[in-house]
Subunit: 250 residues, 2 copies
């Protein structure tokens, strides 16, 4: 764990199915939490269409801005799976059939290893593989880019294979204080408590439920003692203005 700096990642979601609204994304939240455990902060997500240029431009923008770039989607066997080609083109390297990936697929499919299935053994030259415990066709790592499947069950299996493998910093911890109040009633209090405690961020998330208005206040910090101190300070400050604080999420 290297706590001397903040480690960051970006996610590039590749898929017309997300941008058409057909499929509700489930990978953003899962990857965000997984990265948090590794001590890496997800700082940006982009979703682009199944288009070579759109993928390439996003890859080249994001890979240099962050320690890690994850991509999801577009690595299957069909004509709309162009992620490997797009990333290879963006990096200026050729696409090869990776011998280890070919061996994995040959072992899995036996004499049914057709050309379409062999597409799933293609990688940019210089890549290594990420194990896919669910459906075998591997993910791909090249430099700081991690090329993953888009189907959440498969994505999650690939992340499990990477668990604890990536250098990161201190995990961001969070704690929630809540109240049945309008955000605007407590806005000044929230701002003052955050300002008084450098190193803690407070996010305010309102909700409306059963005709009542409430808000969850999420405190984030890497230091657990500081987090506890600020949670107590916020609850006391809410009580001071006549708002009953709730310790935890409503």
């Amino acid at each position: 764990m290297d706590t001397s700096r903040i480690w960051t990642a970006a996610l590039l979601v590749i898929g017309d199915e997300i941008l058409s609204g057909r499929t509700q994304d489930a990978n953003i939240a899962y990857l965000a939490k997984w990265l948090g455990v590794q001590g890496i902060r997800l700082k940006e997500v982009r979703v682009v269409t199944d288009d070579m240029d759109a993928i390439g431009a996003a890859v080249n923008a994001l890979r240099v801005q962050h320690d890690y770039l994850f991509t999801t989607g577009g690595i299957g066997p069909t004509h709309d799976d162009i992620t490997v080609d797009a990333i290879a083109a963006a990096l200026g390297v050729p696409v090869i059939v990776h011998p280890d990936a070919r061996a994995i697929l040959a072992d899995h499919y036996g004499d049914k290893l057709t050309d379409a299935r062999l597409r799933m053994a293609r990688t940019p030259e210089g890549a290594s593989l990420i194990e896919n415990p669910r459906t075998k066709a591997p993910g791909i790592r090249i430099g700081n880019i991690f090329i993953m499947a888009g189907v959440p069950m498969i994505t999650q299996g690939m992340l499990a294979a990477l668990d604890g493998q990536l250098p990161g910093g201190a995990p961001v911890l969070s704690r929630t204080v809540a109240a049945w109040t309008q955000e605007s009633t407590v806005a000044a209090t929230l701002g003052a408590v955050e300002k008084a405690h450098p190193g803690v961020q407070i996010g305010s998330y309102p909700f409306w439920r059963e005709g009542r208005t409430g808000a969850n206040f999420v405190l984030r910090a890497t230091d657990p003692a500081l987090l506890a101190t600020v949670a107590s300070a916020l609850m006391a400050a809410l009580a001071d203005i006549g708002i009953e604080p709730v310790d935890g999420e409503i």
Copy 2:
């Protein structure tokens, strides 16, 4: 309806709660479908942190690449709501208290219109308002940028207020054909059918359910007659290779 060209939009989701994994995004899919009905294609989504520079850079990149830019999140009354300031800075205009927004909030809050609540009347100079039927504090339109709330119930109310107001082209229609098969078995067939029918895109989305493997093939086009023709052609082509086609989504 202007069918002489394709109308495009981008969405910028502003929110640490999405990037921390605390909140599962629900606005991408909803906006995508809503735009589809207006004849506008969602081409890119970005999610950025509650940071002035990150918001500003994304706004200035996306607003010039697309006919419309929607943003969600960060327009409430608390210290972490910085979207208006960030967009005004990106556009190089000052932030003002919009007189119509002030009047809406004064009508709603009466003599409880505090400074914190007045924050929700701030807009970049030159903006107009988007009605918020749910919680009153309005959304904001400036140029081709539509600044919306992040809470899905409120976002959806603002979109309803914009229904049919934005120039667009022909809506993209979709139809799904499916089969209990591995994608790789039908990959060549899918590619051939798409190639034979310009104007139709076919996306292939595999799934694993109850120990069986299947895939949905989503056909997208603006011409309903073409869509029907290609659906029939794909079902016939699947049957030709011994795969029983399903007319509709599995």
